[in-house]
Amino acid sequence: MRSSTALGWAAAFLAPALISSLDALSNRPSYQLAGFLYLLAVSLAAYLGGFAAGLVATVLATLGLDYFFTPPRHDFIPANGDQAAGVGLFFVVAILISQLFERRRQVQQQAEAATARANRLQAVTARLAEAVTPQQVLDAIVTQGVEAAEARAGAIGLLTADGETIEIVAQRGHEQNIFVGWESFPLASETPMGKAIREDTPFFFSTSAERNASFQTMAGVDGPSHALAILPLVVEGRAIGAIAFTFPTEIEFDAERRALKATLAQQAAQAIDRVRLYEAERALRQRMTFLADASELLGSSLDYETTLAQLARLAVPEMATWCSVDMIGPDGSIQRLAVAHEDPERAAWAERLGEEYPPDPAQAMGVPNVIRTMTAEFVPEITDDLLVEAAQGDERLLEIVRELGLRSAITVPLIARGRALGALSLIRDDTSPRYTELDLDLAAELARRAASAVDNAGLYREAERRGDASRALAHVDDGVVLLDEHGAVVSINPAAARILAVNEAAVVGETALGSIGGWSEIEDNSRPEQGGTRGPVTLPLVLSDGSERWVSVSGVDFGDGTVYALRDVTEERLLERTRSDFVATASHELRTPLAAVLGAVKTLRRDDVSFDRDQRDTLMDMIDREAERLSGIVGQILLTGQLDAGRLPLEHERFDPVALTKSVVDSAELHLPSGIELRVQAADDVPAVAGDENQLRQVISNLVDNAIKYSPQGGDVELRLHRNGQFARIEVADSGLGIPLDEHHRIFEKFYRLDPALTRGVNGTGLGLYISKELVERMNGRISVDSEPGRGSTFVVEVPLAV
């Protein structure tokens, strides 16, 4: 364009001069031809040089035409009016031609400018499309974009996550210091960007005066700023920030310019949004990868000190500029386990610094506070005030931490099974973005996994340490329960789990009080003093499954916890009780016949009375009968002893069960109480059986005695015999008191006696049925009962047939 203008100016001077020089020719052109040639010259000048060049050419051409070719020649004064009019007409036509060409030239220039703008916009779009980081987007907009907007400088401000603050994320073309103090400012502030975002409206100011009139706060912003355009960056109907263009001159913002700026702003907004989404997705992927790597690392070794140091290194530099792990030592102090920084020298330096400034457990913030409160600390923005507070008046420390350029920090507790083990700290300096809530979540998850790994490692070590003892304890019959100092079950051996009716896996790690039924009784009665021992005491416990058990418990406190030794003494207790019951019963059973025998003898030996024969016989019979009874009871007791000791030899002989039954009935008939009738009903084909005839006589005799004894109102006692497969079946049926169904299995137990209320005071040793059952079973036979209270009982004895 510039070269063509110069050519135009050249044409404006040279072309008229050239034509004027034709005057020197002998065959010089006519007035008309010269005029035509001059017009061509003007056209050329105007075409190339625009209106100004055309005007100059017009004046020169008019003068030339008048002087050289209009008679009188070589004189400016035309010869007549016609000639003057001709020159004037020429001038007018030349002017018109100049103007004509000027307009055409302007149209062309505008088209070229539009094309150039379109090209620049195209370039911005292309750059934006390539951008994958926020910085690249901003670069594209503030370099190419500023150019496309014909602006001198540009800036982009974005809303922060909380939506309250505008942060200038990129700027270009401004004087270096224009944004000092304006790196970020509240959305609510009276600033062009603030207002544009709040109201979702673009602002165009043709002059800085106009801008300052609207925004007094901007009046102080100096520099050669002129026109200003501020446009909101809108994504999905929501303003996420604003873009500002500053122009080198005062500009009238026509519709086209405004549309162009709006297009730029729209494209910038979309690009920023796309990159943000991409960033978020990338960050998420990075977090997942990081967590996966961390988990793998944590699971790789039981040496948690090494593992945690590796973990800290893994977190750097993506997750943090600095990463440190602090653990609570055995003495309760906080020990720095690892510090990681990209530069190992820096890490070493930080470690030394950590030693120089050990954490104060009472500190109101930072690692000690996080461990104490078991709550994460999240400082998205580390302010200088915060540093001053943290330095606690130590100037040197303050200087160091200021120099570090710390920007954002997260400290999360390592918690396992409700106890803080330590803390994980992540810090970013001002080369990295601030932490967000997402990062806090990630850190918390990381801490959870790390704590669990540390805890597992600890448990494993503990388990290994106790391994041998545990293996031994698994095989002892005594229960052993180990509680930690908080009353939680550390270990419980199989015997203890069995005694306390709990599942080992369900109680380990839980408090004994909360997870073991009856433990409060144990606590109350056998919990030892600090460092002492207590017990053993025998306690009745109501267990988790509702059962009751007698348990002998002793406790030993060893400082870090308590060991309880348990022994189930329920069986012993029951046996002891049954035994003492038996002694009471047996003594009563023996005393009564003994009283009769001794009483009768004493009476007979009275020397102050002489009894008649009948009285003497009655007393003698009494002695006889009661002595028999006494002997029977003693026999039962002895027999029981023999059965228990397994020392009762049984005959294996062939005999007729029917004859045996009849002989039992015959002897029972001898002293049958009144109201009782004995009957035998035997089938014809009952074969001989094999067994001990004498002992079976005992059994049947005992069943018949019982049938009579438990029929206090009298009634029939029937003995039935028939063959049942390979057995001879002997039934003893009465119509007496009967036995409740739930007692059926118990009546065959040793010493067991029915509730006196049910037996109406019928006496007995509680041994008869036990002995019967033992004897029958030792003959490979069976015994059972079918009975109902109030409807009598039928006892069934089956003895194998002889082969």
Partner: protein, 155 residues
């Protein structure tokens, strides 16, 4: 014979409550020798009925009896205004100290443990009745009521 105080105009009447027939018989024979009339009950129910209807001078009461046991008989007699003052001497094979203590609480005026010497039964009964008739029942209880133990058989 000498055991019976001369001052008694009518013979003593004693109720023997025991489910064991031989024991009743022994008591009957030996008390009758001393001129004491004996009423017999084979269970607690019968004992209560006879005590109420016959108002005996003393009850010799077994503890383990069908239907109603001796403890209950003693409680019911003590609760009944008509029988409250009848002296009770327990006659039992139950040898634990718990039992004798319980008997004491029930106001027993004697405790005879089986096996016992039936010859010494009449003097014991006569002594208890005579003291009670003099209104010394409570005193007797405080002093420790007479007992017949198996060891006494030696005597």
């Amino acid at each position: 014979m000498s055991a019976i105080p001369e001052t008694y105009e009518s013979p003593l009447r004693v109720l023997v409550a025991d489910d064991e027939q031989p024991i009743r018989l022994l008591c009957q024979v030996n008390l009758a020798v001393a001129g004491i009339e004996v009423l017999q009950a084979a269970d607690g129910e019968e004992a209560l009925a006879l005590a109420r209807s016959e108002a005996p001078d003393l009850v010799l009461l077994d503890l383990m009896m069908p239907n109603v046991d001796g403890w209950t008989v003693a409680e019911e007699l003590a609760a009944d205004g008509g029988t409250r003052d009848i002296p009770i001497v327990f006659l039992t094979a139950r040898a634990t100290t718990n039992d004798s203590r319980r008997a004491e609480k029930l106001g027993a005026l004697g405790y005879v443990l089986k096996p016992f010497d039936p010859v010494r039964l009449a003097p014991l009964v006569a002594g208890v009745v005579s003291r009670c008739s003099r209104g010394e029942a409570d005193e007797l209880r405080r002093e420790r009521p007479p007992e017949l133990w198996p060891a006494d058989l030696e005597g």
